[in-house]
């Protein structure tokens, strides 16, 4: 990138390649998440759909973490943390709701 190439700046292309590795990986994770939509839509039982949405949420957390490095936006990691918490809460709450409907939930 910088025209005066000093010996101290030699690892910079390596670092660039390192961060450029993450956006294609995030794209592949997006493809896998789109594949998971089939089970979320066509799952025979409620638990199938819930499981597919849970795996999809984990995929989303990983995609957010990869994009935070690939696009150099550190606040994506906060979003990923909140999303992981909400994903776990959603799985527990809906699996409780399907067993005893009309209780707390």
């Amino acid at each position: 990138m910088s025209p005066p190439l000093s010996p101290a700046a030699l690892p910079t292309p390596e670092n660039l390649a390192l961060t450029e590795l993450f956006v294609p990986a995030a794209a592949l994770f997006v493809v896998l998440a789109i594949m998971l939509f089939y089970r979320a839509v066509a799952g025979p039982t409620t638990q199938d759909r819930l499981l597919a949405v849970n795996v999809l949420g984990t995929n989303t957390v990983v995609i957010l973490a990869l994009l935070s490095v690939g696009l150099d936006e550190p606040w994506f990691l906060d979003v990923a943390l909140v999303y992981a918490l909400l994903n776990f809460l959603m799985a527990i709450a809906i699996s409780k709701f399907t067993v005893e409907r009309g209780g707390v939930l």
């Binding site: 994770f29 089970r39 973490a65 994903n87 799985a91």
Partner: protein
């Protein structure tokens, strides 16, 4: 040297994370039962997500955001199998019977009967003998 090592560690973690997430996706799409799907969702997906988050943490290096990533990694490692267990347990309590080897054998014989009509006659004869 260290940069090369970091690059290849990140590359390997990302590649294995992608591979295990692909295995988990294929398992969730192709396996025949809620329980087997919960199995692959709890194990393979946790490993894939953990390896990918480890790649992120290795790429960030010694920064304050690495703490977030390691925290996220431990949280995913704790909660993902727990959520899959809760889902499988709710499936068990709402009356979904797991697919066993006997069901597998029954469906195989039914498939054979659908494909070959001679086989159904043999099966019917066996059942008739059983009843008599």
């Amino acid at each position: 040297m260290i940069d090369q090592l970091q690059f290849w560690a990140v590359f390997l973690c990302l590649a294995f994370g992608l591979f295990f997430t692909f295995v988990s996706t294929v398992g969730v799409l192709r396996l025949p039962d809620v329980y087997s799907r919960a199995h692959t969702a709890s194990q393979t997906d946790t490993l894939g997500a953990g390896l990918s988050l480890a790649a992120v943490a290795l790429a960030l290096g010694w920064e304050s955001t690495t703490i977030y990533t390691v925290l996220l990694l431990f949280f995913v490692f704790l909660t993902n199998p727990t959520a899959a267990h809760a889902i499988a347990r709710s499936a068990a309590e709402s009356g979904i019977t797991p697919l066993t080897a006997e069901d597998e054998l029954e469906s195989e014989t039914v498939d054979d009967g659908a494909s070959a009509p001679g086989d159904t006659a043999v099966n019917a004869g066996e059942e008739g003998g059983d009843h008599a």
